[in-house]
């Protein structure tokens, strides 16, 4: 167990080392940060002086060592754009991303469990088939496209009138296929301050409206996956001896479905869900770009465009840590529950 954790810690350090090394190696190509800091009419001599001052002219190894020493003390340097420690910039953008992920996770759980269970219990019902059909369409729509369509439908609105608008039924039908629009589509409005860098959208109805479209978009990509997974696991459990036995014992079907079967379904679902965290982070970058949601993903893309090297490096390292940690936790849970998995890290 301890050996396992040490090994994982070693992995984490290795990942971070590689990321920092690569990020450092490319910094010359990312563009000249000095350009971002001075006015246009500043003479070249001034720029050279500033470059020297920032240590951009030092040899690669010197720059890297300076960075590495500071990094061990959680000092990843100053953002060139924001003029403040990169950790602080990230802390400021973190709550927005976390709230978005939280909201869409909530959506995923609230929708995928009932739908998955239903389509496992009644695999042949037309509703189940409908859900399965929708879920494969869902997998095929890239998250940014879902987001764009949602904006068109619910923020801008569409008005269609294929039916005669002057009759009452025509007007009604037209209204049915048209959408109102008006939902906020960009940014997160005026979130309320909680403490530190944490501003929240969850305290007011207006704040929540800003979350609706981004959260649905982000959820849309994971939802089909989870519905299919829950359905598959549930089907397997329902066919197991254990459920047959419970049924024979005369336990009510409802109790079997929602207590016994579901409990056994959830374990693999949680572990797979944990592994999907990485995918979710990647999708937040896309979702946040479309909705201009001021979280870490949008910040990362901006940092690339502005060649804010310290910020890029810090982001990648922090994301790397998040991945390693979640994977370790998932493996631990999996190992605890399923003792046949050896924790020594040998490929199973």
């Amino acid at each position: 167990m301890i050996a396992f954790l040490i090994k994982r810690l070693f992995h984490a350090l290795l990942v971070m080392f590689v990321i920092s090394l690569i990020a450092f190696a490319i910094q010359d190509n990312l563009g000249d940060p000095v350009q971002q800091m001075v006015g246009q009419s500043v003479p070249e001599s001034e720029r050279a002086a500033l470059r020297e001052e920032l240590g951009l002219n030092d040899p690669f190894l010197v720059q890297y060592l300076r960075f590495a020493v500071n990094a061990t003390q959680f000092d990843f340097g100053y953002s060139y754009v924001f003029h403040e420690p990169t950790t602080q910039v990230i802390l400021r953008h973190l709550p927005a991303t976390l709230e978005l992920v939280f909201a869409s996770t909530l959506l995923i759980i609230l929708l995928s469990v009932p739908i998955g269970v239903y389509s496992a219990i009644k695999p042949r019902a037309w509703l189940s088939r409908f859900f399965m059909g929708v879920s494969i369409v869902g997998i095929s729509i890239p998250v940014f496209l879902t987001a764009i369509v949602l904006i068109q439908l619910f923020a801008i609105g569409i008005s269609w009138s294929p039916f005669p608008a002057d009759t009452s039924w025509g007007g009604w039908l037209n209204g049915l296929i048209s959408t109102e629009g008006g939902l906020p589509a960009y940014g997160r409005g005026n979130p309320e301050h909680v403490f530190g860098t944490w501003y929240t959208n969850f305290t007011s109805l207006k704040g929540l409206t800003y979350l609706i479209l981004p959260a649905i978009s982000l959820a849309s990509i994971m939802l089909p996956l989870f519905i299919r997974l829950i359905r598959a696991e549930m089907l397997e459990v329902l066919q197991s001896e254990y459920v047959k036995f419970a049924r024979a014992k005369g336990i009510s079907m409802r109790r079997i479905y929602f207590v016994h079967a579901l409990k056994n379904t959830m374990l693999p679902v949680i572990t797979v869900g944990g592994v999907q965290i990485g995918t979710l982070v990647a999708y937040t970058i896309l979702t946040e770009t479309v909705f201009q949601w001021p979280g870490m993903g949008l910040m990362f893309l901006d940092a690339i465009n502005r060649s804010d090297i310290p910020l890029i490096v810090t982001y990648l390292m922090i994301v790397g840590v998040i991945f390693v940690v979640t994977n370790t936790v998932v493996d631990l849970i999996y190992g605890l529950v399923n003792p046949t998995v050896k924790l020594t890290g040998k490929p199973a």
Binding site: L30, G31, D32, P33, Q35, Q36, M37, V38, G39, Q40, S41, V42, P43, E44, E46, A49, L50, E53, L54, Y78, Y80, F82, H83, E84, Q88, V89, L91, R92, P184, A185, Y186, G187, G189, N190, H193, F195, G196, T197, Q292, P294, L298, D302, I304, N305, R306, S307
Partner: protein, 522 residues
């Protein structure tokens, strides 16, 4: 925990750092969103729009521009040219800094000395030889040579509180040091004479201002008591924030959203023809054909500036045929865009390039409004005179490096004259490049016409306004005849606000809203 408390030590009194208290609702609060918040509170750290906007809120300049390019006295009340190189300035009396110190002539001298140390400003202030304090409210500025633009430069002199910025901090650093990208005393502490005091600042989140109770300009109609400035970098979000009522005033408004703002009954839009020229340089050193004036002319004839302005820019640009916008001394009203495809083809044929040639082009993709799309449209237009364009668009962080290397045959650039004067355009964009003097620093065309340079030299020493304007207009004519570059348009400016904020009178093409004078109707 991460909030910085500003000024607390300076004013002694406990400052409110939390968001505006509910009791202050009776006050007029302006919530505004710019694309960025000021990078620093030190107004000498960077020469940028954001810093100048901050300067006009927290400080006052000696003189400031009116909408029609006249000088309005602010901390300078009157001025006279004593001799060719000396300007005597009378300063306003009874002005107080936010710290409580009195404003005197020594603050002006101190500020100019500091400007000459600032990397970003020193080029502008190089012309000043010395500043003499005559008495508490009189200074004399002596220039190295006669300088017709001294008053233009005076719009950049925002006297700082010399006493407040003197001495050392607890950690032994000089309070007046100018540090780029770091924490200096001046970057987090501020004391000016301006209409607003900074009461709270969270970098990247918001800056809070409160009207300065002892502000000298009691005649100002301004009635805004508090300002909350929030940076919203994303265009669509900024517009949405205004339309949903989360903020009262936004700038800039992107062209794609102009209609959206205009259609909203609760918001109003103000646009002005701007002063930033967008143009393309044709590099004569890289392409032999560009040495032929006929080819360069053909390029200017082939490009439909009106089309770009009306289609891509949605009318949000003024088609240009020269560098100086209307209102500038050098603006030559005779020069108009010359789109004429037939003429362009003729000229190409005359020059022997009927079958055209291939060139490379580079443009930034996140610097100017629609920059990459403009470049793409230009490439398509040049294809019509058989010029094949290999276009690359880059983020600005990478673009300027390529620009300095003159990495493509045609390069797009936008330029705003810091001095609001035509000579600045010529000096940076069309003068014969000279690495030693820094002339033609951004002349990526390597265009060189010594006669025009000589004319510019004379104009730079000419104190007679009319004579000078005449010279500058001659230069524009010369550049036009030579087709020294491909002018595209002046990028328009746009602001939008809630209906009850009367923003129109306080706006100007320099894009420094004079928020101290803003009236909010109850």
């Amino acid at each position: 925990m991460f909030k910085k408390t500003l000024l607390a030590s300076a004013f002694g009194a406990a400052m409110l750092t939390a968001a505006l208290p509910q009791a202050a609702l009776a006050d007029n609060t302006l919530r505004m969103a710019y694309d960025a918040d000021p990078v620093s509170l030190d107004i000498h750290e960077q020469l940028s729009g954001g810093i100048l906007q901050l300067s006009h809120m927290v400080f006052d300049p000696l003189v400031r521009w009116t909408k029609d390019y006249q000088f309005e006295p602010r901390l300078a009340t009157e001025w006279e040219q004593v001799d060719d190189t000396t300007l005597r300035i009378k300063l306003r009396e009874g002005v107080k800094f936010h710290s409580g110190n009195d404003f005197t002539a020594k603050d002006v001298a101190w500020t100019i000395e500091r400007l000459q140390r600032s990397g970003d400003f020193k080029a502008i202030f190089e012309t000043i030889d010395s500043v003499n304090v005559v008495d508490d409210h009189t200074v004399e500025i002596v220039t190295k040579q006669p300088d017709p633009l001294l008053l233009n430069i005076a719009t950049y002199i925002f006297p700082m509180d010399s006493e407040f910025y003197s001495g050392e901090t607890d950690s032994g650093k000089a309070k007046d040091e100018i540090v780029k990208n770091g924490n200096s005393y001046a970057s987090t502490h501020v004391s000016g004479t301006g209409p607003f005091k900074v009461t709270g600042r969270q970098q990247g989140v918001k800056v809070e201002f409160e009207r300065f109770a002892d502000y000298w300009d009691t005649e100002s109609p301004g009635n805004v008591d508090h300002i909350v400035l929030t940076p919203i970098n994303e265009n669509a979000t900024r517009v949405s924030a205004l339309l949903s009522g989360d903020v009262d005033f936004i700038a800039p408004v992107p062209p794609n959203d102009l209609e959206r703002v205009e259609a909203d009954p609760d918001a109003k839009l103000v646009t002005m023809s701007g002063t930033r020229i967008i143009l393309l340089h044709m590099n004569q050193e890289r392409v032999e054909a560009f040495k032929d004036a006929r080819v360069r002319q053909a390029f200017t004839y082939a490009i439909n500036q009106e089309g770009i302005a009306s289609r891509l820019m949605k009318g949000f640009a003024t088609p240009a045929a020269q560098l100086s916008p209307e209102g500038y001394a050098g603006h030559n009203p005779d020069l108009t865009p010359r789109y004429d495809l037939e003429k362009a083809k003729e000229l190409m044929a005359e020059a022997g390039y009927e079958d055209g040639f291939s060139i490379t082009m580079m443009a930034p993709n996140n610097r100017y409004v629609n920059d990459a799309k403009i470049a793409q449209a230009v490439a398509a237009m040049l294809a019509k005179i058989n010029v094949r364009v290999d276009l690359k668009t880059l983020p600005k962080a990478q673009y300027w490096g390529e620009y300095d290397n003159r990495a493509a045959d045609m390069m797009l650039i936008g330029w705003h004259a810091d001095t609001e004067d035509s000579a600045n355009f010529f000096q940076y964009l069309t003068e014969c490049p000279n690495a030693e003097t820094g002339a033609g620093q951004y002349n990526a065309g390597n265009y060189c016409n010594p006669e025009l340079d000589k004319l510019l030299e004379q104009a730079n020493l000419e104190l007679d306004k009319d004579k000078r304007a005449d010279m500058l207009q001659q230069i524009e004519q010369g550049l036009y005849d030579d087709a020294a570059f491909v002018p595209l348009h002046w990028q328009d400016l746009a602001w939008a606000s809630a209906n009850n904020a009367d923003i129109e009178p306080i706006l100007n093409v320099m894009n420094f809203p004079y928020l101290g004078d803003l009236v909010i109707e109850e």
